[in-house]
């Protein structure tokens, strides 16, 4: 079954981590469909300046799209062997571009102007996409989601269905809930697709937000690759979400992140309802064991 990764062409680290995790599961991506960096058309630039402020836009130029567009056409590395994606991640930093990695490993890469456009759909169809993995992309429309034979998969940095949207690991901590990751099928809603797998992550050893995000990020790609294998082997069954079971969260303001940092610096332990659920489950289990013992006696 063909696995295809849908991503932004400049999101090197995330995509290389996914590819590395796939390799660990003895899986290989059939192709990569990547969004091209946006060109600074004057009208869109002016609109963004009005919406976000000129200084922010100027700052973003030096960091992502512009730098990456040149790297996409960069010179190939001269290594004779084919190193794994992990080798391209030194100290958590991407040492090569996605395009370089794809060429090195003979993975077909298509760069498109719009991930939801016809070009993208055609590329996915040509690659006979069985499972589509989303690697940090904007909202993907139904026309693209309809292409994969099995489904589109996304990994989410919190336990669904409660925390949907953005900065969800931070929101989990702010709410006192457990931190974790969820692999879910993608539907046209925001993080509302059927859940395939959830895993809690202990972040008590993460003293800062950056450390916490790095740990969760590392783990989420492993889990995504495991789920891809689970789907191929038909070992996973989807659990439908109800819209009312969760809420959508948005980018967290720095004043609230300060609380999250504070909680992490104290060694974060969840205090939310999930723990209560665990407590009552343990209590019930204990009661059943006592009852069984009494019956036995």
């Amino acid at each position: 079954m063909n696995i295809v990764v849908l991503c932004k062409s400049w999101n090197h680290k995330k995509v290389l981590e996914i590819l590395a995790a796939l390799r660990q599961q003895q899986l290989r991506a059939r192709g990569i469909v990547a969004l091209a960096p946006e060109k600074p058309v004057f009208s869109s630039l002016l609109r963004k300046m009005r919406e976000r402020g000129a200084k922010k836009i100027l700052q973003s130029f030096s960091s992502n799209g512009q730098a990456d567009s040149s790297r996409l056409n960069g010179v190939m590395p001269t290594a004779n062997d084919h190193p794994s994606a992990h080798d391209h991640l030194k100290n958590g930093q991407a040492q090569m571009t996605i395009a370089e990695y794809a060429e090195l490993h003979q993975i077909e890469m298509v760069v498109v102007r719009d991930l939801n456009g016809d070009e993208s759909v055609a590329a996915l169809k040509r690659m006979n996409t069985g499972i589509l993995l989303l690697g940090g992309v904007p909202i993907i429309r139904a026309n693209v989601l309809a292409v994969p034979e099995v489904c589109a998969l996304n990994v989410h940095m919190a336990l669904l269905p409660k925390f949907r949207g953005m900065n969800v690991a931070e929101w989990s901590i702010l709410s006192g809930a457990a931190v974790g990751v969820t692999v879910h099928q993608v539907d046209p809603g925001v993080d509302t697709g059927a859940i395939l797998y959830r895993e809690t992550i202990d972040v008590a050893d993460c003293p800062s937000l950056a450390a916490m995000r790095a740990k969760v990020s590392r783990q989420q790609h492993q889990v995504l690759a495991k789920c891809a294998r689970g789907l191929i082997e038909k070992k996973l069954s989807p659990e439908l979400q109800k819209k009312e079971d969760g809420r959508q969260f948005y980018l967290m303001h720095d004043k609230l992140k300060k609380i999250v940092e504070h909680k992490l610096s104290k060694g974060y332990k969840p205090t939310g309802p999930r723990d209560l659920l665990g407590f009552f489950s343990a209590l019930l289990k204990f009661a059943l064991e006592v009852e069984a013992f009494l019956v036995f006696v």
């Binding site: 300046m49 919406e51 402020g53 948005y250 609230l256 300060k258 609380i259």
Partner: protein, 413 residues
Amino acid sequence: MTALGPGGAFATTARNLRDFMQFRIYRPAHLRIGLQDFFDLRAPAGAVQSNSIHLQQAMDWLCRAQDATSDGGVSARYRLSKGWAASYPETTGYIIPTFFDYADLTQDKNYRQRAIRMADWLLSVQLAGGAFPAHDISAPREPRVFNTGQALFGLLRAFRETGNDAYLNAASRAGDWLVSVQNENGTWSRFEYHQRPHAYHSEVAWPLLELFQMTQKPVYRDAAVKNLDWILSLQQPNGWFDQCGFKEDQAPYLHTIAYTINGLLESGALLQPDQPLDNAYMQAARLASEALLHRFEIRHFMAGQFDRNWKATVSYSCLTGNMQTSINWLRLYEAGGDIRFLNGALKLNDFVKSTQDLHINHPAIRGGIKGSHPLWGRYIRYSYPNWAAKFFVDALMLEDKLVAELYQREGVA
């Protein structure tokens, strides 16, 4: 509508051109803020100053607006075309509580004295029937429902602060007039903008409920509830309120949408203080606020006008509406603990803080809040209205209080 008609492209272009000519761009300060807005050279997010600095500057600006008129009222706005306007009874009414609150915060009696001067001026402009006039006092004095409701805020607060019966008597006369001109179905259309009822009259119902609390006369409460129930009937499943704009044929400004929400929210909190979220008015306010929050968070920008599908119809931001919305979100967070509202309000406040010029020498611009961002946006264009600064101060004071409480609960230094 034709290109040459009153609302056509030709008329719009002509109006835009006329407004721009009045902008007096040849003045260095005007040129500076014009260029700043054209290139959107705001302070980037996260680089704005602390709230106390922005607050102080806005309060200084409001003091200058009061001093710009000799009567004790607050000048309606600073216009780049014509300078300071005359005192405005409606907004002076609701600026009074802001000054009392800031006096409490800073323990500076000067603000309290200024608030009392404003209240005394209000007494002097009350019309014979008990109503307060529309527009600033340079215009012919015609009674207006909405403006009377806003004057009530100031009179009631001045009475609470000073115990002077003159304020309560004036408030009662204003309340009696509001009740007397109300329609059978709870709406107000006579003595109103375009002679039609508006959903934002929830902002009249709220001070009537406050007047009821103070006087215990049920007639005020009944009039308020009747109006609020009519407003509830206007709400659509997506949270939108029909008739929440100034005009039927224009997408409503965020300013009047936020008024509508605020009146419902505060009325709900007054009628059911123990369980505010169970109140139907509060729930209606919450539904509309959630829709706005979603729009803002998705676009990272709050537009100045919306259609009934909550679709932004313009690319400018109505800064007054932003601050009113921020207050609504902060109050919803306070009432129900949904921290997403606090998060949204923090960002909205940062945005408006980034548009406040703290350094320009021009005293009528420094510390003021524009009607629109950019300056030529449709809402109170090329002007600094006093109500924008008032809501800005209210929002920042409430933010500071709620964030301090949250930090204390979480043990954050």
